[in-house]
Each structure stands twice: as structure tokens, then as C-alpha cells.
Symmetry: C2
Subunit: 338 residues, 2 copies
């Protein structure tokens, strides 16, 4: 089975990674029978848990790691600002890692952190992250506190800071219908991310409620991580016979491309095309036309993530009831949907 | 003289900090007479150089620190992106520190770094930084490589990555005159920063060349770090009898406030007011009117800074001839100056 790791052990034993990890640590939560099965297989493959983490981590390093998909972004740069501000107050240093929406990078950052001295991790997933095995394995090896924010992993017992994606998207789509739109289209770029699923679900429910059908590739248009490809996709969409009369951009950069394409095709906004977008663009009100936005509380989300992480690091205590913390977004209606 | 440090020793001896540091390290560059003076005074005050740095730094930590005035900024978030990308390629981790334009924060970050394990520092000064004593003292104690970028310190022998501020500003102001402007005003927020001085010099030279006089507080308007105060300053300016017919914003956030004020006062741009700004706003072309910009090569500047730092860390070698590296900005003329 190649280089053995805890993920492979768990698979072969048909157990969760966390169970295997606990069994190897002789946890009272695991039955003697299970422990024996785990230890036998681990012995067979000569598998040893990564010894670095616990040895190195006897003293606290007073540093944390922030893993984000991008930093040249209005949302993530503000979130990092909040985390860094909280960390400075608490006397912690902050490592920043940018995955550039690439799963291989996300995996390799966690590998690096396994033998680092950080006291905890704040993380927002990249667009390619479908499964969580690399994160489970990291946690099993290090037992470090991990907080997810915005692009959260659906891993139970890990605190997650998120906005009300479903409700915000539903409300924004409803707004488009109230403006008289009959053919709105939803643009997105990652099908795996939980937050996209939630936004899409909100959009779909509003469409269905208004008596229309949701059709993949017609009502829901998948874009990419590449700006030029996205320009082509949106150009084709806005040149089509059944051109949509409204766009719901689930991420800001897609809304800005819609503006460019509309200008290049001389489509008048908002008359011929209405646009609303999840966006933290500070200049949204100065665009032509000004952009209707659902803005996430970027600073508050970063701040909450940092606060919770320091609580976990310092008190080694965390209330399960707070596993998912939702901070509401704010809808600002402007000219692009008037 | 209170808690003695190298800065105070240098002052009392009327020597440079670097000379005192070298004398204490018994450098061949310093004369025996000077060494004796330094050592006598150091003994008198029982001063010992910070021993931590050199002891701790025997092994390389493979991490660097980036100190920037803000991160929720189109320029700095892209620069950090470039630095992080280069660092990952080289196997280095990146600490990010944000000073929030506050000198006390800048000083305290350097104090923290004195006893940290980083291998080098990339730095962009905060708006309040007038003197460099805190940086000189840090360098004297740690001997760590330091690279400045964008908001550079005018410290000889330290590599500095900068854009062609003077030429870009001169060219942009000339452009305003060519558009028929007769009364352009320059907005800025920090009088200490070298890059502001250079931009201001470029603006002034263009004004003088066009037969006008530069008057402080009339042609050159000082703003602050606070958005609301800036709104008031610009509001007052655009309500005045001798309203300017053009604004040169030396930083992006001031240009966006000009847009807000002009809209609130119903001033038509570009007819009644032309605007040009140093800016890295990706949506500049989508504003109403689209904004004429001088955009700094943020990614290239970050990349160069990182490349140079790793060269210095790994080869401990640096050619003096490259002390100041200039990467040109790009002017994009759009509707706001038509």
C-alpha cells in the first residue's frame, strides 16, 4: 500500500481517521477490540504516527498559520487584517500561506505545518478541495486546533465561521424577481465548496418559488479560475439568443467580468441586464452602474476566527454548541438592479 | 540616560549607529581610537549588545518577515501575494505584520523580531515614519538583511525596490495640463515618506513648467489616515470659490473619496473636474467615469524584493550597485481626464 499513512490505515480498517488516531494514542474512547485491530495493522505496515509534532510542541511557539485561497482579494485581505490585528493584541505572530486555489498547494502547506511550531491554524479552503482527508490526517498527527472560516470544511467538531449564505442568496434572488426579472442566471466557479452549494441552494429555491425551473448549464453557469476563460464563457452567455435578463454572481470577480462584457457588447445595465453579486469591493457604489452587493462581514469573520482560535489554544476548551458561527451578510441595493 | 541602547550611545558619541555597532563587534573598519571611545562609554553605562539574535540565529529558520502599513489595499495585498509565492518556491515561511500606519506598531514589530528566528525582513514604512533610528538599532543588533519596497527608507547600503515616482507624477501632471486644466491640486497624506516627496516633486515641476505657482495648503492639500476627515477636507476643497479643475491623488483611497464628494455635490466629471491617481484598483476601468491611473507594478516589486532578500540570505552577498532598483509604473488614461 505504498508509504503508509493514517488515511490508508483508516480506509483498510473501515474506520474513521479520528478513531484510528485515538486508538494509536490509547484513548479511553476506543474499545479494546478496535485498538487491537488498529495496532495490529499499524505494526504490520510498520506505521508510526508523526512524532515531530508532539515533541516539538511542548512549548508554545506563540504563532499561528492562516491558510487562504487568495490574498489579492477584497474579502481575504480584510479577513487577514482582522486576524493579524487580533494576533498582535494577543502577542502571536502570523504565518500567511496562499494556496492560489490549488489543492496540491493546500496539501503541501499542511505537510509543512506538521513539522512546524505553530500553535493553531485558521483555514479557508481552495476551490479544488472536495474531500478532507489531508486535513483529517494533519489533525490526527498534530492535534492542533483548526478553525475554518468562509470556505469551510464540513467536518464536525471543528469550529466554522461562516456567513448566512443560503438566506443571503435567497433574498438576493428574490430581489431580482421583484425587479421584474424572468430569466436570471447564477454564475459560480467551484462546485465542491460548501458555501457555493449553500448560495446555489438559496438561488434555486427562489427560482422555484417564482415558478421557474432550474436547469444545469442554462440557469447555473460554471466558470473557472481563469479570467480570460471566464470572459469567454460570459461573452457567449450574453450573446446567446435566450440572453438572461439578470446575473447573480456568487463571487465578485465574476461580476466585474460581467460589467466588462456588457460594456463590450453595449448591453445597457440595468435596463437590459441586472446584476447582483457577493462582493466586498469598496468602490461598488462608484461603478457604472453602481453594483448591488451582498457583502460578507470580512473583518468580523476574521476576528471571530482568531478569537476562537486563541481561546482554544490558551484554554484548551471549546464549547461544542458553537461549532458553526454564522455572521450575517448585508445586502445593498444599488443601480445595477434598479 | 535611562535604559541605554545603541541609539543613545551613538548620539552621545556623535557617531553613526552603524559605527558604534561595528566598534562593539571589533570590526577592522573602525579605528582603534574610535573603538576605545565606544567601549569606554558602553562600559560606563554597562551596555551590552542584544545577545539573543546571533546566538539564536546560528541555524537558519527558513522564515522571513514582511512588515507593511496595510494589507486591505490593492497594492500591498498583491505585493504580499508575490512575496509569498516566491517564498513558497524557495521553501520559506512568511510572517506578515501590519503596522496600520502607526509608528509605535512599527517599532514594536522590530522589537519582537529582534528575538525571533527570522532570516530576513522585507519592509514598507508606515505613514508616520520620519526617522530611521528604530531600524538602524534593529539592524545593529541583528545584522539581518532588510529590503525596503515602495515606501522605502533612505538608508544607504540597504536595497530598495521602488517605482519611478518622480517621472510618473511629472508625466501625469503634464497630462492634466495637456487636457486644459489650469488649477490642479495635489492630494497626499504623509509628508515624511520619500515616495510622497518624489511624487510631489514631480507634480510641482510640472506645475512650474506650465507657468503656475505651487502654494502649500492651496495647491498641495494634506489629508489624513481617517476616511471621514478626508471626506470633509475634500468636500471643503470642492465647495471653495476657487474650486480646482483637476485632482492629482497621490494615493488611491483619496481618489475614491473625490468620486464620492463629486457625486454628492453633483460635480460632473470629467467636464467640471478631472481626476488622475496612483492606483492599483482592478475595477478602475468600470468606475463612473473610468479612472485614469498610474499603476505601480505591485507584483513585480514584491517579487524583486523577495528575490533579492533570498539572494542576501543564501549567498550573503549583495552588489552595492543595485541598491535602488526602479520598476516603472504604467499610466492608463481613461474617461476621468478626457
Amino acid at each position: 500500500m505504498g508509504k503508509t499513512n493514517i488515511v490508508k490505515l483508516a480506509k483498510e480498517l473501515n474506520l474513521s481517521i479520528s478513531t484510528v488516531s485515538k486508538a494509536l494514542k490509547d484513548s479511553y474512547e476506543i474499545s479494546a477490540a478496535t485498538k487491537q485491530r488498529v495496532i495490529e495493522l499499524a505494526d504490520k505496515y510498520n506505521y508510526k504516527p508523526n512524532p515531530f509534532a508532539s515533541v516539538l510542541r511542548k512549548g508554545k511557539s506563540k504563532s499561528i498559520a492562516v491558510i487562504i485561497p487568495e490574498i489579492a482579494s477584497n474579502f481575504f485581505s480584510v479577513a487577514v487584517d482582522a486576524i493579524e490585528t487580533m494576533a498582535t493584541e494577543k502577542g502571536y505572530d502570523v504565518f500567511v500561506y496562499v494556496t492560489h486555489e490549488n489543492l496540491a498547494n493546500e496539501i503541501s502547506v499542511l505537510k509543512r505545518l506538521e513539522i512546524s511550531l505553530v500553535d493553531g491554524v485558521i483555514m479557508s479552503l481552495c476551490a479544488q478541495t472536495k474531500g478532507y482527508e489531508h486535513i483529517e490526517a494533519f489533525y490526527a498527527d498534530t492535534s492542533l486546533p483548526i478553525i475554518f472560516f468562509d470556505r469551510i470544511a464540513m467536518m464536525e467538531n471543528f469550529p466554522r465561521i461562516v456567513t448566512n449564505n443560503y438566506e443571503s442568496a435567497f433574498q438576493a434572488a428574490e430581489h431580482l424577481f421583484k425587479c421584474g426579472c424572468k430569466n436570471p442566471v447564477y454564475l459560480y466557479s467551484s462546485e465542491w465548496l460548501y458555501i457555493n452549494k449553500e448560495r446555489q441552494r438559496g438561488f434555486k429555491d427562489a427560482v422555484t418559488k417564482n415558478g421557474l425551473k432550474v436547469i444545469d448549464d442554462v440557469t447555473l453557469i460554471k466558470c473557472t479560475e481563469d479570467a480570460e476563460t471566464n470572459y469567454d464563457i460570459i461573452h457567449k452567455l450574453l450573446c446567446s439568443k435566450k440572453r438572461p435578463d439578470a446575473i447573480f454572481a456568487s463571487i465578485e470577480k465574476l461580476a466585474l467580468i460581467v460589467y466588462q462584457v456588457a460594456r463590450d457588447l453595449d448591453i445597457k445595465m440595468p435596463k437590459q441586464l441586472k446584476v447582483i453579486s457577493f462582493s466586498n469591493l469598496r468602490a461598488a457604489s462608484l461603478l457604472q452602474p453602481s453594483l448591488s452587493t451582498i457583502s460578507q462581514p470580512a473583518f468580523e469573520m476574521g476576528e471571530q476566527a482568531a478569537k476562537l482560535l486563541f481561546k482554544m489554544i490558551e484554554k484548551k476548551f471549546y464549547k461544542k454548541a458553537n461549532d458553526m458561527i454564522t455572521i450575517d451578510s448585508k445586502m445593498d441595493i444599488r443601480e445595477s438592479t434598479k
